[in-house]
Point group: C2
Chain length 488, copies 2
Amino acid sequence: MRRLADGGELARRGWAEGSAFIADFGEHLTGYLSFRAVPVGSVADSPIRLRLTFGEVPTDVAEPLYPYSGWISAAWLPEEIVTVDDLPALFRVPRRHAFRYVKVEVLAASRRFGVRFEAMTAHAVTSARTEPSPLPEAYPDWIRQVDLVAQRTLRDCLQTAFEDGPRRDRRLWVGDLRLQALASYATLRADDVVKRCLYLFAGLPRSDGLVNGCVYERPEPTYGDTTTLDYAALFCVTLQEYVDATGDLACGRELWPVARRQVDCLLARLDDTLLFHDTGETWCFIDWAFGLDKSAATHGVIVFALRRMLALAERLECAQEVAHYGPLVDGMAAAARAQLFDAGRGVYTSGPEQQVSCAAQAWLVLAGIPESREEAQAALRNALADPHAVRPITPYAYHYIAEAMLACGMEDEALGLVRSYWGAMLDAGADTFWEAFDPADPLASPYGDIHANSYCHAWSCSPAWLFRARGLGRPDGVADAASTGEGA
Amino acid sequence: MRRLADGGELARRGWAEGSAFIADFGEHLTGYLSFRAVPVGSVADSPIRLRLTFGEVPTDVAEPLYPYSGWISAAWLPEEIVTVDDLPALFRVPRRHAFRYVKVEVLAASRRFGVRFEAMTAHAVTSARTEPSPLPEAYPDWIRQVDLVAQRTLRDCLQTAFEDGPRRDRRLWVGDLRLQALASYATLRADDVVKRCLYLFAGLPRSDGLVNGCVYERPEPTYGDTTTLDYAALFCVTLQEYVDATGDLACGRELWPVARRQVDCLLARLDDTLLFHDTGETWCFIDWAFGLDKSAATHGVIVFALRRMLALAERLECAQEVAHYGPLVDGMAAAARAQLFDAGRGVYTSGPEQQVSCAAQAWLVLAGIPESREEAQAALRNALADPHAVRPITPYAYHYIAEAMLACGMEDEALGLVRSYWGAMLDAGADTFWEAFDPADPLASPYGDIHANSYCHAWSCSPAWLFRARGLGRPDGVADAASTGEGA
């Protein structure tokens, strides 16, 4: 990037038809753009037509968006073509955008005048009540940076609901919600929004009672038409963690039947040996990694959720009601060990091809399937070291590897993973963390075109929770920040 | 045009990415478009991006607007690219357009759903209090049609001021105002808007007191930076006619000094022989015809205005104040006769090249320069018959030929002119009359691209006045409709 002038200079220049500039607001934000368009050199004897391109990252504004090669709709491309009449005029782009950069191209204006852009302003919106605050200075710089960027990611996704990404698709997804809620408990404390999101899911289930993978909030809360089995399981986990973080037992009790219903629906999908198989009939997400077999990982998610449901029952003092699920946990664990564990290679495999993936190890470790801490560690290490293993491509899946590492005493490796993955985004200039990032192929996109990617994506905000609530990277002498959000 | 279905069908079809249709609202209007975009086949999992092209005539929507070859700004091209979030959504295009047709192209939408357009509605706006009413059935059909189309043209230009064209440039020009005001006295009677326009001009003069050719009404009334000598002269004429039509002597008295100032400024530009020469220093409009010499015609406009100022002074009972201008009229008439009349050819010429143009004859006839009715008629006939004479290309200039014909007793030829010119637009499918039309070259544009033309242009509405107030084409037995607007 070549810096042309200070922002203050902008209001002193005139831009003629065919000219263009990029405004840099210095920080990623979710919100609205406004400016005052003032004619220079003559009264404005025509409207002006502008193309505004909103960039979360420099590639959004430095490269043309077209031709577009993505498989999701080009309607997501962050541009507006606007025509402004009757200059001077204050213009506010009516749609909300996620951006740090705005490219302004004067597509058309009469040759008699140029346009001056005064008071070009970004109006940021968030439901966060406070600004992100840094970790104590005793932390290494890179951790403090990753933590801040994670918090900014959370802040910009934190709107009337927790959106997955404020650029795309601006929806509430269970998988994103769990990680956002965790990061929120440790930082911005938007407990009320977590609660609202839980009710949105609970209030808009499928006819069989499964919550949707996502909910549309606008124009009115709507059933999302996208059921995701691993996300349905995570609803229970998110509710259990909410009650734990807030002590809001009333909400826990009200939504308890919904949580139990998820588990029942999922258990009904196990085979006779109590093992889950991804038949493709209902979507399992786990990760965007191409070719990933999701049976083993989803089995892990279900066990993980079942255990959390039992923990929630304890908290709500209704453990008796679900006591009969206890043996199921053991049975599912035994089935996984018996059928998925490849003792020779020291990893769990998934599906008929006995695929080895990092995601499967992570979820089975989190589910408590391995018989020992050493076996869990070995499974994770072996998969990560295996060049043929399917590796994750999203921060979402990377998070679960880190969470699994912490669950089995691999603190140093978890920290190394966060440094090598989130740190690499930081090194690449991230202001907020991204929806997808493959360090081996940084310009890859799960959608076939990087301009379709979201570069502020909620499921990447979890390092703030790993650092603050799980003690990852905590230097000696720094007190437990736990979930206060105060940073120290 | 191939008709696909009734408008009512539209709300029953879904339109996928890449599809397009043209909606025909059946009549030209000025206003706003709204519709409800409803997803079909699935919940809308993406925004939609549409290109909306507003057509006054079929060529606007049946041909691509680009590549654009006009010399005025492409920002005038009547299109909008809009992105609609969160379907179903009611969307209203925020900018006002002038249109009968709307081409809707679904540029982008997720493949999971199609878009249904419900309640596609045009919200027409005008300051006209009544709808156009037809002339009595005793009139020939073509006259009734020309009259109605002229009234619709007036209606759609009649907004908070009399705009020249609601598509372009949506400004108040003196030349347009005079013809609109005349047509209005005979039909829609928007006297209050005429008065407002007179004050807008009077309140925003150049430093030397000349009124501008045009005024910008928005964002606030602004000096137009375009002085037009013939239009400054017509300010006096318009004021005189307003007082005459309404009896609003108070307004006449208040604006009288402005009218007198125009005449003074114009007289100061005459040479020692009292003849006007177009030096190019200040614009004279007269017509868009290429190569037109404007000296003689503008001389005619000034004499015409001077006579009207004297008539206004009589009405305002201040004739004494301007009695000394009387001899000037005679002097200017004598100068024109002596220096511009080519007795051999029976026409008036203009400029050093002794150019013959229809516009010059018209204005000099209206100014009362010819010594006899026969000489006036001959001048008009000779110019119209001369293949080398410069012919008009705008309805504005054609109007003054017709008005001049009526001034010297050429009723039949005036009616023939209206029939051959305005009637030809009607034959070409005009719903409103156009800014420019050359019957010999119907796809010509004064701007280098027909998509820059305005197809509802105020200065073409004058036939309604010619028929109603001047009795043009009136059949035997039909009473004088005069300026009642009642049609009979």
